[in-house]
Amino acid sequence: MKTVVVHPERCVGCMQCMAACATAHSRSKSLFSAIHERPLPRPRVHVGAGLCNEGFPNRCRHCDPAPCRMACLPGAISRDPDTGTVLIDPDRCINCASCAMACPFGVIRYHADPLGPPEKVVAVKCDNCIDRQAEGRIPACVEICKSGALAFEEISVAMKRKTDQVARTVSSDVGAAPSSPGFELLKAVKKVEAELRASGR
């Protein structure tokens, strides 16, 4: 089973995943008409700024067991058995924010949603684009990501690659696998900028 794997070191903070996510969860599914919809479709992936302003695409981990599901008062949160996706039923949700206390990653937002009951504020979060997946398409955030920060792959394959990477760093003659120099440059620039801001210059 494929899942969205996040590679934060490759995130350049362009936020295109947020626009793509909001569009995928709009009624029209088109960016140009989605921006005129009311309520305005909103993203379910959130690019947060780190200490040096580096980007991080923060999305639901679909934890198992899921703390939000355990904490949900009206029993509105369930797991889709086929994809392992943790889903919120907007019709059962009472907007009590109990899930906001439970989520250790802070990925749940509260607003009226184009796909929920009209004018009702509900808890909204990533649904792994299960509607798109049912049509054989990959999640919208992955489809739009150009830097490879978001990938849709078998978790076992991703784990193996990471294990190999760690293993390579301990053999003295090989060293770490080279990544694209652009990422290192961007990180270095952001770090210097953050230091300049901190020193008040």
Binding site: G48, P67, A71, G75, A97, I108
Partner: protein
Amino acid sequence: MSYVIIGNGVAGVHAAEAIRRIDPDGEITLIGDELFPPYCRPMISLVLEGAVTPDALPIRNDRFYDDLGIAPILGSRVEDIDVDNRTVKIANGETVPFDKLLIASGADPRPIKAEGLDLKNIFYMRTEGHVRSMLTALPKVQKALVLGGGLVGFKAAYGLMRRGIATTMLIRSGHPLSMQVDAAAGELVRENLMGRGLDVRVGASVTAFEGRGRVERAVLADGTTLSCDMAVIGKGVLPALSFVPRDKIGVDLGVLVDAHQETGAKGIYAAGDAAESTDIARRSRWVNAIWPEAVDQGRIAGMNMAGRAVAYPGSLSRNVIRIFDMDVMSGGVVTPETDSVYDVIHFHDPKRKRYRKLVFREDRLAGFVLVNAVEQGGVMLSLIRSETPVVVPRERLAAPSFNWSTLLPRAG
């Protein structure tokens, strides 16, 4: 193996399910006071408000007891536990033997001392039944009095206001939500509610209710009287433990439990509002009578009762309330004494009506209060619960831009 669970609240229900997952054959007896199917207690205020109907309350379907092979004894309270002979005595004189016992009897509303409490239209708001009787009284009510500025008081006041009833809230302490938030946040909440038409009076308490059969006015401690045709008492809760033999089972405010939710009496466990466990943030014993704790403690107790040793790191105070357009979340230690081991930082943006207070003990987060923008509260609670050292600048946690990646190590 025979298991007896006292209480069909959320702790009891989760314990029964945890036992059944591990032990498919054991006999489970569940003794409950309320006849209504296991339901979501925090949602009863939504029924008062009219946002949901009572049929939205049950957390399990009506086949729950049958499906899990549980023998329910409903509509009666336990009178006594015979620790030595391993039996529980019920109000009708019946005794039920047990090998493993769970005390998940929950809590009852804290009673108040005042004259005239037997008058009609004076309510507690704890059970589905309480709200049902409130709804019956509502059509003839024009002016209501809410005693207590805690979570229950607020939910009652909010519900009554949504029903178009003129409501006055009497708070003994200096600001609302005094158990949940600090004075600054409490003041923000008070201002917000006053702006919405709630009459909030601080430093006020009732000494007597008067009326002919039905409550007509309340007499306050300062001698003034307030007319009302309904009163709701929300002065907190106390663990329901009248049946617990205190010479055999250790009781402080709640039943004292260890990391496995087990009491000093072997094979007897406690969970939920009735249990007193170690509070992670306070580093002392505490009764955290909140829904998510009851869920966790019930599960942990159930697994341990069925023979699977699972430790529980401790409980944590936390709460969230949405009142009109204002969200308030708090967790852990929120009002530490001055000159204590705690450091406090504040962030206040009056224009956006945002307030944040963070409480640190050494290099760890120990508590917080958030007014509005509460989405990242779970990250903070997770920091407290896991006792993770905070190595990033503390102001970054209080800033509006705080998010999970703020906690990640610096790039490069």
